[in-house]
Symmetry: D2
Subunit: 260 residues, 4 copies
């Protein structure tokens, strides 16, 4: 399997990688608080949304380029690497200025012009599975990036749409070994979007790792109840250390031959 | 309900509108044959794909701008209007040159930057439902266009993804009255993508109209078995007249107060 | 295609059959009112639930054998035939006493011992599609009945479970021609359970017929807002005549070669 | 949370319970070989199908009562307890003679007369989730048993039906903490039916346990390639020891406060 390095972290190495940060960059202060806590926990990859794909045009749409500037400045202060999503070819230029790993969200997994354009950049790509996409379609979407020359692709399973109403989506843990073994890409898991429920973040993160995931991506917020987006599925910063400990504990004990 | 005029046709008027043409523009000859037959049947809206969203990067991707030029030239010869899909903001300029109604495909229903940019054009938009989008998300996607000032939106139900394997998708006829009545947009139905089966095109087209649809979009091809894409769900030109007659017959008999 | 006669009606003949009645038999009075209206509209098949499969054990479970007795008595008064659901092998004996056509509900489509036992009776069977069943599984369930010697099977499409939350289920109109043509059974459509919404009963009934269905099953109630079950998806008796007229009008105009 | 004892094992206790055995009891020899290996691995619960719910009436339907006799005799030889599925009220009497824990399969989760009748027995019930049942419907199905007086219910998550074609079903790991925490029942996981693929049994078993499951149910067979049913999703007896070791290793390390 290809491993993908981002800053000091390696996706597809022996230890699970933790990516964390707020759903949206709301302002410099909240991001600074967040980065300080992450740094103290030894987390090196800071995620944060600047361009936000929102179902309704009437909800908060993100800070755009200003959000990326804040992300970069705060990350540099703590020596972190930045992961952030873009939604359009026009946003590639500014993301190349500020971002270490470019995320393609679930709603853009089938945005083929965007995938091809990212294949012509030098940046690692975090490609989320569309909530309506089969594993085969996901691997073919990754091919759009790789075909243009960029092989640094990490996949992220974030739940698929089913009939079950008690969770926002249904985390498809089977997709993790399938995409790793058949596609040869590192795969991480996003328990926050998969469930949309704070009480399920820990069990889903651990389930994903037990199924062989190479890492997790977690939404954290200084004060989830006041978040501008996705507060209900974010971990409070003050409670994040305990979850990180469990993730590392399970990761350390995974038998390296089990699904790896 | 808003009605939307494209050339001589009105979506949301008393008669169902028929949009027809090949999945992909393959060359001038096949399009010319197609347009001649459509014209002889009294069909005024010619669809054809120039930019093709394909699941795999290794399949035919469409002729691009050259395809649009062919579409325009052939349509003009027969006095037809052109409907064609674009997949990215970068393709808007050339589509404005050649296309009368711009289609957004199912895979781009959540491409919010594209929707917003189309809201700043003067062209009617045909917005297909994402194959895993709720009716509410579809109506909110239409809001992205309308919010920027372009109210000429027609919706197209083309099937949703379910567990049933004998059809490519499941046509959701309930979505037609829901989107018409709650959203106030004209809605047409695409029985070809909904089923992926030639034997189901007629029953699904008629079902959609009986549920209140304002029109149908049908893939036709001079020789479906040799089509570069979607041949298995296209009607042969030679058999299209019979289907058109049935569609018009049902449309004429619909009681105008039934769901209208 | 096999046609199936029940009383004076023929499923799979030239005209669509209408089956109607309350979700549950609540008492003699409401059933009597219902039967009188149905009779005056020329409807000959009275449905009514005596044994009710309810998701929760704490909701109304039906009148059982007493409900069947009421059904029979009222039907006889108006010369109607009775269609009623059973849920278990133990209920076959009493249904044979009182019922002309035995219904197997969606939740029992995979109840193989029940299907086999019904295959050893002399009564026509109305087999609803499980809301989780593929068309192939549905046809194989019918085989459980036929294999034991009872070929008088009519299928009923009543919607499948999908991610769409604005309808209770998603009516799968494609299943109608597929099950008719591949299975050779008459197929009717149940727009009430498919949608769970009164405003969609008419468009879905018409869509089913346009797709080739051999009939419809409609829930009616003298006062839907006071119904003990499924009131929100029932037609008020006073408004039923108009719907019956539209159904017959579409049925009469269906070209007999269209999917038939 | 209620814990449920079956023989020497406790569902809902500190250690994960392993239930194992063949999909179908095919004959005495194969069951004897299986029981010997299970016994040597310290497994105390032997599962085996005697009454088989098969989608097609033309495939192997199980040995019926004879299968139960074989199960009992072999289990007694090795001091094991027996878990076996029934499909109908008529099968309760013989299962009470031979079986220690009665399984209700996914296709019967909505068979309310069966659930109520089982609620009047003294035997623990293993209630599988219907493959298209919501968690709420699953908990309400359990209520049908409990309401009649039998509180010894263990739930089993075995995957739900989705659009993903590379697995038979999609294991819904979120359902495990939801059903445990909201329903108060022990929950085990069945990775074989969830995936239908031998290569996914281990990652899904471990994922289920990491999400908090109280045990696993695994199909094993002396020679899976010659199994009369479900061979492709069964573990070969000779390879089962390694999987058991991994399951116990993860179970032992689970922090008892993690979701428990």
């Amino acid at each position: 399997m290809r491993s993908v390095r981002v800053g000091p972290e390696v996706f597809g190495g022996s230890d699970p990688v933790i990516v964390a940060g707020p759903c949206s960059v709301e302002n410099r202060d909240m991001l600074h608080q967040t980065a300080m806590v992450l740094s103290s926990l030894g987390i090196r990859l800071l995620r944060g949304g600047a361009y936000k794909p929102r179902t309704s045009p009437y909800t908060f749409q993100g800070l755009g380029r200003e959000g990326l500037e804040i992300l970069r400045a705060v990350a540099d202060e703590f020596g972190l690497s930045v992961v952030s999503e873009i939604m359009a070819v026009e946003q590639i230029a500014s993301s190349l200025e500020f971002v270490d790993m470019i995320q393609v969200g679930a709603r853009n997994m089938h945005n083929f012009p965007l995938l091809s354009a990212l294949g012509r950049t030098d940046r690692p790509i975090l490609l989320k599975r569309g909530f309506m996409a089969t594993v085969e379609e996901w691997l073919l979407a990754a091919e759009y990036v790789v075909k243009e020359g960029n092989e640094r692709v990490v996949l992220c399973e974030r739940g698929i749409r089913t009939f079950e109403p008690w969770t926002r989506n249904t985390l498809d843990v089977s997709a993790i070994p399938l995409a790793r073994n058949l596609g040869g890409y590192p795969v991480i898991v996003d328990p926050c979007h998969a469930s949309g429920r704070r009480d399920l973040i820990e069990p889903l993160a651990l389930a994903g790792l037990a199924a062989g995931a190479d890492g997790v991506m977690i939404e954290v917020h200084p004060d989830p109840d006041r978040a501008l987006s996705d507060g209900g599925q974010s971990v409070a910063l003050g409670e994040f250390g305990e979850l990180v400990a469990r993730i590392r504990s399970l990761g350390a004990r995974r038998n390296p031959t089990s699904g790896h």
